[in-house]
């Protein structure tokens, strides 16, 4: 709580939604609510988080339907428009990178491909990879943290050591090396899907150690709680205790972690694509477009700003929403 001396209204504010509404009958007021439901009630009152959520939902819809939308935007993401390119400079004709009614965000230099279509298609890869990588991180982190925290002893020792190894690994170097070492066609994947899979594995497979530490810490305290003892004395097995007693208490930290890990993973995917080991050309990606823009951005700044702002707006919206989720679960964190 962010109470300064004499600030009593903050206390009221935090528990206001827990207290029964004076106008409703008592029977309705006693209805039990889970922590997640309470958090959702708080989140709905957070205007900034709600606006951010709208942007997030919009971007997700855009990404999910990219294959349907992108072909109808200025001729699709991969169709060149050489007529729109100045032959001498290979830059788009017209102002602001060739923005007009047909190409809302302009076209890219050299080829003249529609940037709106490329940004939309890039959103698909960006969101797909960040969501999948976050899911992988959460699963690995939960398993590792539960094993280490609940069983302790030598299991804890091994998991802790593994986490130290993963935290000490230069992830970016490793990711670049892995992507450049794997041949373009392997394991029956197409080039694009192979890279997508690698990115998910590298980004998700290295992020778990940090989350695993959080989970381990939580489980260490949860394990000693009375409700676990109670459940055990009623004859519950280890599996039941882990899944029915401890796991539900990990929902809050998991949701908070996941909602802040997604924007971080969007940035990670963009960084790998920027370094040329993410989504392979000519397939559009935000990081790849940014890298492509670097060679002539003093002459065509629009090409730098379009993918850059796409990343910025998406990541900012996810971050604002994630902050809202964190505050909803833990009003003390405050903003």
């Amino acid at each position: 709580m962010t109470t300064l001396p004499g600030d009593a209204s903050a206390l009221q504010d935090d528990f206001g939604d827990l207290a029964p509404d004076p106008g409703t009958p008592a029977a309705k007021a006693i209805e039990g609510r889970s922590l997640t439901q309470i958090a959702w009630t708080r989140l709905k009152r957070d205007k900034v988080a709600m606006v951010a959520m709208c942007v997030v939902v919009f971007m997700c819809l855009l990404g999910a339907t990219a294959s349907l939308i992108a072909p109808h935007l200025g001729g699709g993401p991969n169709l060149p428009h050489t007529l729109l390119i100045d032959g001498d400079t290979s830059l788009p004709k017209g102002s602001a990178g060739g923005m007009d009614s047909a190409h809302w965000l302009g076209v890219d230099p050299t080829f003249g491909r529609d940037l709106a279509a490329r940004v939309v298609k890039g959103a698909q890869w960006s969101l797909l990879i960040s969501f999948a990588a976050t899911a992988l991180t959460v699963i690995l982190g939960l398993v590792a943290g539960l094993l280490a925290g609940y069983f302790g002893g030598w299991v804890d020792g091994i998991v802790n050591w593994l986490m130290a190894v993963f935290l000490a690994f230069p992830v970016v170097l490793f990711g670049i090396a892995l992507a450049s070492g794997v041949p373009p066609h392997a394991f029956g994947f197409s080039y694009v899907w192979l890279r997508v899979t690698l990115l998910i594995i590298v980004i998700g497979g290295f992020g778990w150690a940090y989350f695993g530490r959080i989970v381990r810490g939580q489980v260490l305290t949860l394990r000693e709680k009375e409700f676990v003892d109670a459940s055990r004395s009623l004859g519950a097995g280890e599996l039941r205790i882990v899944f029915r007693e401890i796991m539900p208490n990990l929902i809050a930290p998991t949701l908070v972690f996941a909602s802040l890990a997604i924007p971080a993973n969007i940035l990670a995917e963009a960084a790998f694509s920027f370094l040329g080991v993410g989504i392979p050309l000519p397939e559009p990606s935000w990081g790849g477009m940014l890298n492509d823009s670097l060679s002539q951005y003093q002459y065509d700044p629009a090409y730098l700003f379009v993918p850059g702002l796409a990343i910025f707006v998406t990541v900012l919206a996810f971050n604002l929403f994630g902050d809202g989720v964190r505050d909803a679960f833990d009003p003390k964190a405050g903003r």
């Binding site: 230069p170 970016v172 670097l294 003093q298 730098l304 850059g308 990541v315 971050n319 405050g334």
Partner: protein
Amino acid sequence: MITFLIRRLIQAVTVLLAVSIITFGLFFLVPKLAGADPATLFAGKVTNPDALNGIRIKLGLNHPLWRQYWDFIGGFFHSRQFDNGPDKTTCPWPCLGYSFRNDQSVSTLIADRFPITLSLAIGAPILWLSVGVLVGRTSALRPRSFADRSSMLVALAAVSLPVYFTAAVLRLFVVFTWHWLPDITYVGFTKDPVLWGKNLLLPWISLAALYAASYARFTRGSMLEVLNEDYIRTARAKGLRERTVINRHAMRPVGTLIITLFGMDVGQLMGGAILTESVFGLPGLGKLGVDAIAAHDLPIIMGVTILAAFFIVAANIVVDMFYAVIDPRVRLS
């Protein structure tokens, strides 16, 4: 204290060994699966089997994998002999082998590039630590005020920006549009300290912006939490000046947390700021590693990766030792 330190050191050594084994395995096994022989990578277009054999012997590629790894690790402790048939090469300690591409000593290459990465990892942290902590502290003292709201919004925006985008935009305006600074070429500190700072200003700012923002958010969050503790109320109740309460009582635990974060971040940065280096074309360790990966130059990749991991692990130990000194509970656990 001593046993704590020894335990941490043993763990650090095993972590470094694991990182080196994984890297070594990865870089030898992946090309092998892809059907490439390191000797041909080294020799380029040479097809003469005798020449290839010579290279294999020189690089030790004729030994089994574990033996190559063992010899490689040996290079950290003593000089190595490379037996190339007629002539013998002595690789002085610390020996990380020779580049597959141009036969340069990897330790020399790293020593050449390291000052650039170090320059980045000195200037940027000073900037972000001072700005980040100051902003976070100011925000926490007046929560929900206009200054707090706006600075936290700016901080959130800054953590949402990719560092290479910030860097490119800064360079676009400062260098190309307004001509405030000449374009960046690295000049050594010992050669011309003023030019050194001037050239590194933009990389420092773009790198620091990201970290400063997250430090401001972190400082604010933990400061607010600490200000809510009972002992702060006690300090205020016994009539201490507000300045003393904030600086002596509240900042101490917050500072401990920040130093932990700071140590880890600087350690990570010492291994190379790949993105910043590549946007500004600074030939630091990160650039060396990326270029080596593109050229499949295994010895350089190994050297850079292990050095980067070493800095992270070393930073971990320094932070732990710092903790053990200021917090007696750590020593006992």
